[in-house]
Amino acid sequence: MRAKRLIAAASAAALTVGIVALATPATAAVNICKAKNVAEAGGLDNLIKLAKKEGKLALITTPRDWANYGAIHDAYEKAFGVKVTVDNPDGSSQYEIDTMKTAPKSKQPDSIDIGPLVVAQVTPPGGKPLTSPYQVINWKDIPNAAKDPSGLWYGNYGGKLAIVYNTTLPSVPTKAADFSKAEYKGVVGITGDPTSSNQAFMSVLAASIGNGGSKNLSDVSKGLELFKAVKAQAPLVKVNSTNLVTGTAKLGFMWDFNALGVVPAAKAAGLDLKFVYPSDFVLQAPPYINAINAKSPNCANARLWQEFVYSQNKGKTAAQLTAADLKLPGSKLFALMQGGQNYFQQSGADPIMSAAMAKKKLLVPSLLDFKVPATAKVVGPATIADVLTAREQIISSWASL
């Protein structure tokens, strides 16, 4: 009789313990995919622990030589022992949106980096958002105009447009208006089609402010006029690496934050390229935008990646991390590492949190060897609303220029 009661009690106890044991880690796993900030993820240490267990981070369209992404990937991989893969590094923002909508589970990315002109598709009217809301630790340091209030997307880094030129040009170009000079005939170009390429689109905007249109960023007619004048002499060429190498293209606009990658690669191919900011007006373009994919397969890494990319810390880069550092508990290691925002800063891209970081004196120096001239005025940052208006102008007029 007593034995039976004992057994019953023991079983009940075991059952309860079992249920609790089963419930607790299960709740934690479910929570991470719904965690909206680091607190809901159980703290930075827990987040790093879960990320290490997942072991993988799936990114999309972030080339290594773009805004220092290569260094950021390396640091993340080394510190947390996570393998970073990039789907279609040269892909477009539309590709990222379509991937989130249609790709099979095995090909879904964790985090996306899209251009400002497609961000509207992240929140389709009458449908579910494609992303999961998340707010990083320093959420308030992101300007309001550059983020979605509920955390569905947030600006990451922005670029300025610089003039890139082949030093074999007869004279050094100093501003956008120089593009239509007769001595540059036939070798002036643009990196792509402004109706489909973000960088080309912003080039037209940069040309616009350099041709008298600096007052109104939503009107790019002056930029279209400038390119029309260039085209009147000779058709525009495509500015890509092979055309630069063959001397087919010798002058155009490019993102300043790609200079660190482009100039050495050009040099290795026997090409002497230089970047210089326009001496009159420099365009601060709207930022590229990050978000966590709603179908993210590695939820913890998706969130840890955001925390890392938005970390404002000054600290060690991948090469400087020692074996001892790597053994430190998660948050201590995190505090030691240079944050993503400073990696962007080094490449010349403007981290979205630069205003706050400048106040806190956390910004490291940029590694670019060219600076905005004292005579130049930085125009912007252009807002998403500005560029949406400009887009309609470009789509309707570019082809018939």
Binding site: L117, G192, D193, T242, N243, A399
Partner: protein, 298 residues
């Protein structure tokens, strides 16, 4: 073997119907299944989505926009480039095919067939690069021509212009013509040329009365194929132009796989559907001509 006498054209009944079905249809099933699933199914879906608005309701608005600028110019330019690139490749290609097939040894013919197969598939950035390296503003051939007094770039010539595109398209259209037209030459039986000569016709008469009329349908058919190829070429035009020459495949590419996006999300798909319709106008005559000339190739 027993023979079943069936009246020609009588509707088949019962078992005869089943046998007829199996005879006429079944062996094609593997091909039809593969093409059906891997091709028709995606295209059907594309057509379906082209009628959807941004809010997923039924609409014609995508097609309305497709009929306006700059897409209208895109269609016109694409048709022009298809026609012109086919025209300038068809004649040289036909003549080259003629000489190769009739005068070349067997090894030469097969080598050319293989080379043409590879060349017909060149395109995109590698092809653009080859041409810029040769004919670009700092190209090797450009320099040679300049030495002999002809400055290609004195005016407004550029490989990214309509003319430039035609020259580059020739690189894959010519081999395509050779591949597609050669068999027609082969089918021009030597016996006919001998018979004509025996009947007193000279070379000129032979060509005017027999050769050209016989080859003409295949020539037109090959021309239409080249048109379809030039019309829908994407990667090469993408590598050479920056949107200055509106072409439908580029516009579709920009809408479906770009960074700027238009306000109508399904516009690209609508453009694709219109492209299919235009190409169908070239393909249907091709089939009709092929069927008629097939008789002579037996």
């Amino acid at each position: 073997m027993t023979f079943k006498v069936i009246e020609e054209g009588a509707p088949k009944r019962g078992r005869a119907f089943l046998t007829s079905f199996i005879k006429n249809f079944l062996p094609a099933t593997p091909l039809l299944l593969i093409v059906g699933f891997f091709f028709l199914f995606p295209i059907a879906r594309l057509i379906y989505v082209s009628f959807l608005s941004n809010e997923n309701t039924f609409t014609f608005s995508n097609f309305v926009t497709a009929a306006q600028e700059p897409y209208r110019t895109g269609f016109v330019n694409s048709i022009k480039i298809g026609l012109f690139s086919a025209a300038i490749a068809a004649f040289p290609g036909a003549i080259a095919a003629y000489f190769i097939e009739t005068r070349g040894g067997s090894k030469l013919r097969r080598t050319i067939a293989v080379m043409s197969g590879v060349l017909a598939n060149t395109g995109g950035i590698p092809l653009a690069f080859m041409f810029y390296a040769a004919l670009g503003i700092q190209g090797q051939l450009t320099k040679v021509l300049k030495f002999f007094g002809w400055d290609l770039y004195a005016g407004t010539f550029s490989l990214g212009s309509f003319l430039g595109l035609l020259i580059v398209y020739l690189y894959f259209q010519l081999p395509l013509m050779v591949i597609v037209f050669s068999p027609a030459i082969v089918s021009l039986r030597r016996e006919w040329s001998e018979a004509a000569r025996n009947l007193g016709a000279n070379q000129f008469n032979y060509w005017i009365r027999i050769g050209i009329p016989l080859l003409f349908p295949s020539f037109i058919a090959s021309f239409l194929l080249l048109f379809a190829s030039g019309f829908s070429a994407y990667a090469t035009a993408n590598a050479l132009t920056v949107g200055n020459l509106p072409l439908t495949p580029l516009q579709i590419g920009g809408l479906l796989d770009g960074n700027v996006s238009a306000s109508q999300l399904n516009l690209g798909k609508a453009l694709g559907v219109v492209m299919i319709l235009i190409s169908a106008c070239a393909v249907i005559p091709y089939l009709a001509i092929q069927r008629r000339s097939a008789r002579w190739q037996k």
